[in-house]
């Protein structure tokens, strides 16, 4: 009999569900994609429904439901921390109490109410869930595992080893000493949202100089020889309240935090560069120690810090480990997957089989819902939206590639939705990476933002080395790599003290200007035929037409909106933006032929800006 295990995460941010059958990942999705509320923390009822649908099983066929976190340990940490700093922690108490007193203890009741069966509900350790999400789907039979995030229960960092179906924690660092929280403190101080703006801070870093790195090392974090670290908590506000930083922190870095949405100054650029540099050093230090301690030649990464693809790229290039694998849903959403895998292998004794083809078991992270051609057509017919059906994949890709080569912006919905924060071609907006105008068009007419971040490239896996200094695959867009030197173009040197970065944003820095960052780096997705044949075919068609095997790939959403899931979401986003073409499976829709959208633009208020 098949052992089906459902993993769930939630009640903090990014709730999700994942379903595993005899250790094989069947389905995984974030709740936000169904509710259309970004980072939705609520009980993942729609994601659970989807997982059962994909597996096509009844709840009674589940061996267990596993929550990714132990609510008792989390409550222990919160209560102790609040008591230790009372009475200044009143605000924090009020914010945290509803979750850890009112919701988390009732996870089992939520599950039983939703599924209407008396299924066993288990609780995994937070960092073990992360570690499991990384090790079990990896292509490695044995590996070291490094988990770095803000905090889960008490742990903030954990070092583990995995072998077969065993996963053993070697060492943990505990709250409040957290690399994730340190990075989030700078995210918040620089005017970005915690738990979503860390990516922006990382993107801002190349504009600055790490001139505050020594101050950070001297005052905020002391790193030991074994890579472990301790924070000076007197600079932070998160122990006592809902602020990440306090007055001491402000005094150290020259004044109050940047107001959200205000102009970014040289200070924020340099702070970003500095904390990025410190983070990279800490990650490399811990990795060196883990390599020595474990004796393993491969490493798996998970936890929110593992989404720092600049640090990941550096770790890859430094060759501390021969091979690196990173869970693409490294944040709390991935905890749902880890919890399910952990219970499968450790509680139910399911044997682990690493794929024999050298690839991982994450299935390209295409683990979400797909919509058949019949469903797409039923939707289009029901609403009378004009479309052209081209069932032949090669013929369709040729049409789309031609449009891209002509400078059109294309919405692309193809196959199962991605699990994790990155769009990997299944729910993507695509453009021509060679065009100098693609970046500004995508920012202003599609994303409705003025961004300092370039877009990411998707490249044919077999051609990645022709464009990037990258000696491995990066299927999940989790490694940053330099654009090859011969493709770079000379740029005028930046003046000392130059505060205005906007002129730099649209500077042509390589023959692939839309994807080349100010430091000539790019956040690469390598696309293999095995992972997504249709998207690979599109890149191939574009290459045949233009000689270039690279496309701009950005998430299919507008700012603040969760990535689209269904054809309806995709059509709505298509019509609200200035995309030219929409691909919905085997149907192509041209903007010019669509009925005009209601002039009402109140939808812009639907999404809270991230």
């Amino acid at each position: 009999m098949t052992t089906h295990v459902l993993g769930i995460s939630g009640f903090y941010h990014d709730s999700a569900a994942a379903l595993v059958a005899d250790g094989e990942i069947i389905a995984a999705a974030q709740e936000e994609r169904f509710t259309r509320k970004k980072h939705d923390p609520r009980f993942p009822r729609h994601a659970i429904n989807y997982c059962l649908q994909e597996a096509f099983i009844e709840p009674s066929e589940l061996a267990a439901v596993v929550f990714y976190d132990n609510p008792i340990l989390s409550a222990d940490r919160i209560v102790r921390s609040i008591v230790a700093h009372a009475p200044r922690t009143r605000e924090q108490w009020l914010a945290a109490a509803p979750s850890f007193l009112g919701v988390k203890p009732f996870v089992a009741a939520h599950v039983r109410e939703l599924l209407r069966v008396d299924v066993p509900v288990l609780f995994a350790r937070h960092h073990l869930s992360h570690a499991a999400s990384s090790f079990y789907p990896s292509p490695f039979e044995r590996a070291a595992v490094l988990t770095l995030d803000g905090v889960g229960e008490w742990a903030t960092t954990s070092l583990a080893v995995g072998e077969g179906r065993d996963l053993t924690v070697l060492k943990e660092l505990h709250y409040p000493h957290s690399l994730g929280l340190l990075y989030s403190a700078f995210t918040s101080f620089c005017g970005f949202k915690v738990n979503s703006g860390e990516y922006k801070l990382m993107g801002l870093a190349p504009y600055g100089e790490p001139r505050y790195a020594d101050q950070i090392r001297d005052h905020l974090i002391s790193v030991r020889a074994d890579g472990s670290f301790e924070l000076d908590t007197s600079y932070f506000g998160y122990l006592e309240g809902n602020r990440m930083t306090n007055e001491r922190f402000e005094a150290l870095f020259g004044g109050p935090p940047r107001e959200a949405e205000s102009r970014i100054t040289r200070r924020e650029m340099d702070l970003a560069a500095s904390i990025q540099k410190v983070t990279e050093d800490v990650v490399l230090g811990i990795a060196r120690h883990l390599r020595a301690e474990s004796g393993m030649d491969a490493v798996c990464l998970a936890g929110g810090v593992a989404l720092n693809c600049v640090a990941n790229g550096l770790l890859q290039r430094e060759k501390i480990f021969d091979r690196v694998w990173i869970q693409p849903a490294s944040g709390d959403a991935g905890g749902a997957l880890g919890a399910a895998l952990l219970a499968s292998h450790q509680r139910f004794g399911v044997e682990r089989h690493t794929p024999t083809n050298g690839r991982d078991a994450q299935k390209g992270s295409y683990l979400g819902p797909a919509f058949s051609s019949s469903e797409v057509r039923a939707f289009l017919e029901r609403h009378g939206y004009p479309y052209e059906a081209i069932p032949d994949v090669a013929a369709r890709n040729t049409v789309v590639a031609k449009a891209l080569a002509d400078g059109k912006i294309v919405g692309h919905l193809s196959g199962r939705m991605e699990f994790g924060p990155r769009s990997l071609g299944a729910r993507s907006i695509l453009g021509d990476a060679r065009s100098a105008s693609t970046q500004s068009v995508m920012n202003l007419k599609i994303k409705y933002r003025e961004s300092f971040r370039p877009f990411a490239p998707s490249v044919l896996a077999e051609r990645a080395g022709d464009y990037f200094e990258l000696d491995c695959e990066s299927p999940y867009m989790l490694l940053v790599a330099p654009v090859r030197k011969e493709l770079r173009l000379p740029v005028p040197p930046r003046g000392e003290g130059d505060d205005d970065m906007l002129p730099l944003v649209n500077q042509v820095r390589s023959t692939l200007p839309a994807i080349t960052h100010v430091d000539h780096s790019a956040r690469v997705q390598t696309v293999a035929h095995e992972d997504h044949p249709v998207f690979h075919g599109l890149l191939r068609a574009f290459e045949e037409l233009t000689g270039c095997g690279v496309l701009v790939n950005t998430s299919f959403n507008v700012r603040g909106e969760p990535i689209v899931c269904s054809p309806k979401d995709a059509y709505t986003c298509f019509m609200r933006t200035e995309m030219d073409l929409l691909v919905l499976e085997d149907c192509i829709l041209y903007k010019a032929l669509q009925p005009a959208l209601d002039a009402d633009d109140s939808w812009r208020n639907e999404y809270e800006l991230d």
């Binding site: 729609h46 429904n49 009844e58 019949s374 039923a378 309806k568």
Partner: protein, 334 residues
């Protein structure tokens, strides 16, 4: 996010999206739905020739037979396969449809398929849908629309004429219907009163119906009621066109099961119809009513009035002996 499960069909108005697999969120936790390539909620793909050694039953009906609220395998049609040896049930039921649409489905599909028995499951309130020319339709956004449905007109000399085929595709603003606004099926009598009572919850609704002795379907009270005459004409024609033995299977609404309304009218009409057409009548009401009154409440969900898995089991067990006997007779004949 609820998946779209229906697509336009020019003859029936709509059908399930072929090949779809979905789990529908529901007050009872959710249920699995698998659609075959012909666009019906059936575990079997339609094949013209019988499987050697197996009898074949074609089942027609609405959501009670398509199985709203329960997974495919929990439906009475699927359970029949467990209870009757060597039988394959092909489920052609379509949720929300009237007997007129079900007849059109039979007309389109049955001639090309070998079969031994036809079960026409008539949810007794389908009499209302047959009389309607339009149906209400809620979009995935919750927008209320009106769509045309195919329907039959019965002339004074008893001729049936099919209208609205091909079925108009576009939604119709209700305001533009004019006098035809009365031809929209709104799900029952006393629409405004019903929506008010529904808002107060299922317990209040049940109590209100019991106290008022609400009779949901007075259309059956007289053999001369226009709506019955139309339903009877459609069923008579359908039965006459069937190549195989027909079982008429009138499915009661819960008011009849739970004794809050009198079923005498509809039972008399279906008896007359069976007698006049030669169809076999199988009335499951006595079996449903053989349970204590309190237990009968569990035959429907708390809010949704579709049959629960338990009710499906009882319906299957009720129907199985009739199906078994008719198939045996059919086998003996051949």
């Amino acid at each position: 996010m609820q998946r779209q499960v229906y697509e336009y069909h020019p003859v029936f108005g709509y059908r399930f999206i072929p090949g779809l697999k979905a789990r529908i969120e529901h007050e009872a936790g959710g249920y699995l739905m698998r659609i075959n390539q012909a666009g019906f909620r059936c575990e079997r793909e339609v094949q013209a020739a019988r499987t050697p050694g197996r009898s074949r039953v074609l089942l027609f009906g609405d959501s009670f037979s398509a199985g709203d609220g329960v997974s495919n395998k929990q439906r009475y049609g699927d359970l029949l396969e467990e209870l009757v040896p060597n039988v394959e049930v092909f489920n052609f039921a379509l949720s929300g449809s009237g007997t007129d649409q079900q007849y059109l489905i039979h007309r389109e599909h049955a001639p090309g398929i070998e079969h031994d028995l036809v079960v026409i499951a008539v949810l007794v309130e389908n009499i209302r849908r047959v009389a309607a020319r339009y149906r209400q339709y809620a979009t995935l956004d919750g927008q209320e629309l009106v769509l045309a449905k195919p329907y039959f007109e019965l002339s004074a000399d008893g001729e049936l004429t099919l209208r609205h085929v091909p079925v108009p595709k576009e939604p119709i603003p209700e305001a533009s219907l004019g006098e035809e606004r009365d031809e929209v099926d709104r799900g029952g009598r006393f629409e405004w009163l019903r929506s008010t009572v529904n808002r107060l919850g299922p317990t209040v609704k049940d109590l209100a119906q019991r106290v008022s002795r609400y009779q949901p379907l007075p259309h059956y009270d007289s053999p001369d009621h226009d709506d019955w005459r139309l339903l009877r004409a459609i069923l008579s024609r359908w039965i006459a066109e069937c190549r195989a033995t027909v079982v008429l299977f009138p499915l009661p609404v819960y008011q009849y099961v739970e004794d809050s309304a009198s079923p005498d009218g509809y039972r008399a009409r279906f008896e007359e119809l069976a007698r006049d057409t030669g169809a076999t009548l199988h009335d499951p009401l006595p079996d449903l009513r053989s349970f204590p009154l309190a237990e009968r409440r569990s035959f429907r969900f708390e809010v949704d009035c579709h049959p629960t898995p338990k009710a499906h089991r009882i319906l299957a067990e009720s129907l199985a002996p009739t199906v078994r006997a008719l198939l045996a007779k059919s086998e003996a004949r051949s």
